[in-house]
Symmetry: C2
Subunit: 113 residues, 2 copies
DNA sequence: GATATACTTGCATCCACATGCAAATAAATA
DNA sequence: TATTTATTTGCATGTGGATGCAAGTATATC
């Protein structure tokens, strides 16, 4: 079996690793999108209550959204006394998205070549 | 009002434009993820029936998934006689993802600076 | 220790969506 | 035109997820 024949499979597995469903699930809700955009515009981390002010839903729901985003490695959290500070890991998310873009184009080239 | 003060708003709007909910909604389903990965591994477009063979669900459901992905500009479709050929617009999707990554890092820099 | 503040979690409800089956549409062929 | 093939769409069902309220947990202050 030549390396050439293995390329398609290597491609799909690379894409399969890159296309993590949890990431897209985390980003497919409009409230979570607005949370990400809001945190991206801040220089510092924000508390749950601060973030909830911009969402229009109960803060308990915001807390759940923040957990989903944190579990998907989109946000970082850190307890500070009574409050919990959430911040956007912009660099990590950007790198993940670029990794998907790279995998897509790698597949395209391998499939065509 | 200085340009410096407008930066945060410009940032959020740039991100708001980049973070299209429809794109993430389209990619948050595991069947649609597998469709994208499958099409990425092919050199040519595929019919609905061909794609359905890899999904494990009824072809009518696959047809709906393909429509969702096409509406989100992830796939291109073209009728060829009785069949409809779907193909992945890998370059476009990669560019969109890189655009989000760029907007994220631009926001981060503006918020910090 | 008691109280207040900040957040998380349990519970019930509601809505969006994925799915399968069947019918409808589009297009080629007999 | 009738029939077959390929895809789409209508309909009903089931499931997952978002939401609000209330209760529970964690931390600080009195």
């Amino acid at each position: 079996m030549s390396a050439r024949q293995q390329l398609p499979e290597a491609c799909t597995t690379a894409l399969g690793d890159a296309l993590q469903p949890d990431l897209f699930k985390a980003l497919c809700d409009p409230v979570r999108i607005s949370i990400v955009a809001n945190l991206a515009a801040r220089a510092e981390a924000a508390t749950v209550s601060e973030i909830a002010d911009c969402c229009g839903i109960d803060f308990s729901g915001v807390s759940r959204h923040l957990k989903i985003l944190r579990d998907a490695s989109v946000l970082l959290s850190q307890r500070d006394g009574r409050q919990v500070l959430y911040s956007l890991d912009a660099g990590s998310l950007a790198a993940t998205l670029r990794g998907i873009a790279d995998a897509l184009e790698m597949c395209e080239q391998q499939a065509a070549g």
